[in-house]
Subunit: 409 residues, 2 copies
């Protein structure tokens, strides 16, 4: 059960003019499962993308990078679940190219105008013939009010579809931002096992859109961790169709940039947090705030030392205020000149540790009270500078082990 | 149940001349548990130590470092389980000092000649009065053939005591090396949550002994990981009493140095591997060998990316050859210019991946056969240099979560 995550109702997912979505059952891993998604983009849409840094990146990631570098405007995205097409070498590249060329033929565009995405098991050959066979059905299903089915089609170990919408007015025109994402495990900063697609019918130049995407990623998908594993397939795509008729945002100094960027950021943060709330086996949603660092980088080291520690995460699962494990993680985070005598550790509103040890006024029942909540904030004050950062994670439960031990079966 | 770890029988733990060990029930955390150990050293013994790099290091670690810096020869070690005396600030230092001064009074030596060690729960005040009250009983119990009881007294979540002995002849004199260690979770390179004590009755100068200790640590305790957490209390101590009457080893060019160092290294590797075999919840012992790197450091990055990955570790637990997770970990290990097309991945004797993807000759049943073994070797060939490294780890099971969720209760 995801932690305090109420899936957005289908009727609250707002269509984005110029983006039509269609799903189909391709039978990639399981029968009778809609596992194929096509997103058609209106002519003139801008597309921006960020991708995994994993050296064993998946074949579709390689193709997406090629196609971004090639420069022809994208006309469609093709997404499958059930198979990651990663760790598949030259053969995998060939199969990814095949799905692009077949879809391009159906759409009468160039193969380089198709962006492919895959998620699922690694190192198995992609059953591309099944994808090709299902493409016409996915195309026939394409419509703008189909985000709910699309969000469901891209799920793997996710227990609920993740999607949300925002609307704003730019120069008198109503503009919509709708996004969806999948991911539940293999979630790490530097991107999660995750696919994310956010679209708006605002008009944004490719350069400004890429900038907006980078900003949104930095404060959303790059701030979450479930298990510290960086996947081979992570991709986050931002699309701007321009179909709402608002004035084009040409660069980040444009007067409308900040408001649109805020809405895109909200959608991205909602999706990133939804991934953590639905983290494999998660029973708690943990916010780790680190303040008073010399740099954002060192704040991140401390935040991730806490967020990655299996000992800390099992203590959260057990609702056990075994807070020494938090101090321990701060201590090994890799700040060699950290003065532990100045560090303050808060659990929720409770000052737990100060002056290198337990706060004399700390009472176990106060820690216990916070630990029993399903939303917990850990705050660390380093008292050595003005930088800060926030990351989100979940606890480590029996179900994480069960889900990942049984994943392929 | 530890993985293929047969505890050494008490009669096979050989006394080291000049080291007397005594245990007592101090009631630190639980009643009727021998939780206090005193080791008395013959006059003239050399002692070397390495300690955790955690900035929140425990009070006893701070005192040990002070006492090594102070230079007066150590006459005794005092070790307690049940409480780590870490994250306890100035008050914790006072309590550690108290246990040293009380033992020093009983032994008529200086307080700075006592080395203290603690292991157990973090951020709780050390019940030092109980330790002080039990010291006379521990001293009364001191004898050279007491290693088995000593190894049991230092356990925390360990399921079996860990100790072993080696003997060799140096210049016609029989020399003994006996060691013990504790640790099962919070185990990480850069030292484990672990206390290790190895003693020999060979004669070794302090400088040569420290060198021998550093070498042994690098190939034993610094090559293991259970959960990636670096503890506040890690300490590894090497003692040389000189009581066997062999010629003194003055430096590492001495003809006897290499043979003694080899025996010490064997004991340290045995203990380090025993810690992994008894890793919290472990059902498999995993050796990760990385070869063909440009440097030992980059080999270590790949080895630890594999050894720390919860996804890899749960796949081992499930005996599931979900080998894409191994490729994925190699890919995010942090070698930016890694040519994945040249990487080879072996599971036991089975070539799993080559040329960026699955070996065409690989068959699932071959991977399955290796995965079902309780001792598994993963071998990665990077094909970019001549460096190599080996690390040892275990799988991640339901019991790891149970043990760490319930630890304090």
């Amino acid at each position: 059960m995801p932690v305090n995550l109420v899936p957005t109702r289908a009727e609250d997912l707002l269509p984005v003019k110029g983006v039509a979505l269609g799903v189909a059952e391709a039978g990639i891993k399981k029968a009778k499962r809609r596992d194929l998604l096509v997103m058609r983009l209106a002519e003139g849409a801008s597309v921006a993308g960020v991708f995994t840094q994993n050296r064993f990146c998946a074949a579709p990631v390689i193709l997406c990078r090629e196609q971004f570098a090639g420069g022809k405007p994208a006309r469609a995205l093709v997404v499958n679940t059930g198979n990651a097409n990663a760790g598949t070498g030259e053969d995998g590249l060939g199969r990814a190219r095949k799905s692009c060329s077949e879809l391009a033929a159906l759409l009468a565009c160039d193969s380089s105008q198709i962006l492919p995405f895959s998620t699922g098991v690694i190192m198995e050959p992609l059953p591309v013939e099944r994808i090709v066979a299902a493409l016409p059905r996915a195309l026939a299903d394409c419509r703008e009010d189909n985000w709910a089915n699309a969000a469901e089609a891209i799920m793997t170990t996710d227990t609920v579809p993740k999607a949300c919408s925002r609307q704003l007015t730019l120069g008198g025109k109503t503009v919509t931002v709708t996004g969806m994402a999948k991911g539940a495990g293999m979630i790490h900063p530097g991107m999660a096992t995750m696919l994310g697609f956010v679209a708006t019918d605002a008009a944004v130049s490719q350069v400004a859109l890429q900038h907006m995407l980078a900003e949104a990623t930095a404060r959303s998908f790059n701030r979450i961790t479930v298990d510290g594993d960086t996947s081979t397939n992570d991709s986050f795509i931002l699309i701007a169709t321009g179909a709402a008729g608002a004035q084009k945002i040409t660069d980040e100094r444009h007067p409308d940039y900040a408001r649109l960027a805020a809405a895109v950021g909200e959608v991205a943060v909602w999706l990133a947090q939804a991934i953590i709330r639905d983290g494999e086996g998660a029973t708690k949603f943990i916010t780790v705030e680190v303040q008073g660092g010399k740099s954002e980088e060192e704040c991140g080291k401390v935040a991730y030392a806490i967020a990655h520690s299996p000992l800390v995460k099992t203590a959260f699962f057990a609702s056990d205020p075994n807070l020494g494990r938090l101090l321990c993680a701060i201590g090994y985070a890799g700040i060699p000149d950290l003065d532990v005598g100045r560090v303050k550790l808060y659990l929720g509103d409770v000052l737990v540790a100060t002056e290198g040890g337990r706060n004399p006024a700390y009472r176990e029942e106060d820690g216990q009270r916070v630990m029993q909540q399903s939303e917990i904030t850990v705050r660390v004050e380093l008292a050595r500078g003005a930088a800060q950062t926030t990351v989100w994670t979940c606890d480590l439960s029996h179900d994480y082990v069960s889900i990942n031990a049984d994943y392929r079966s």
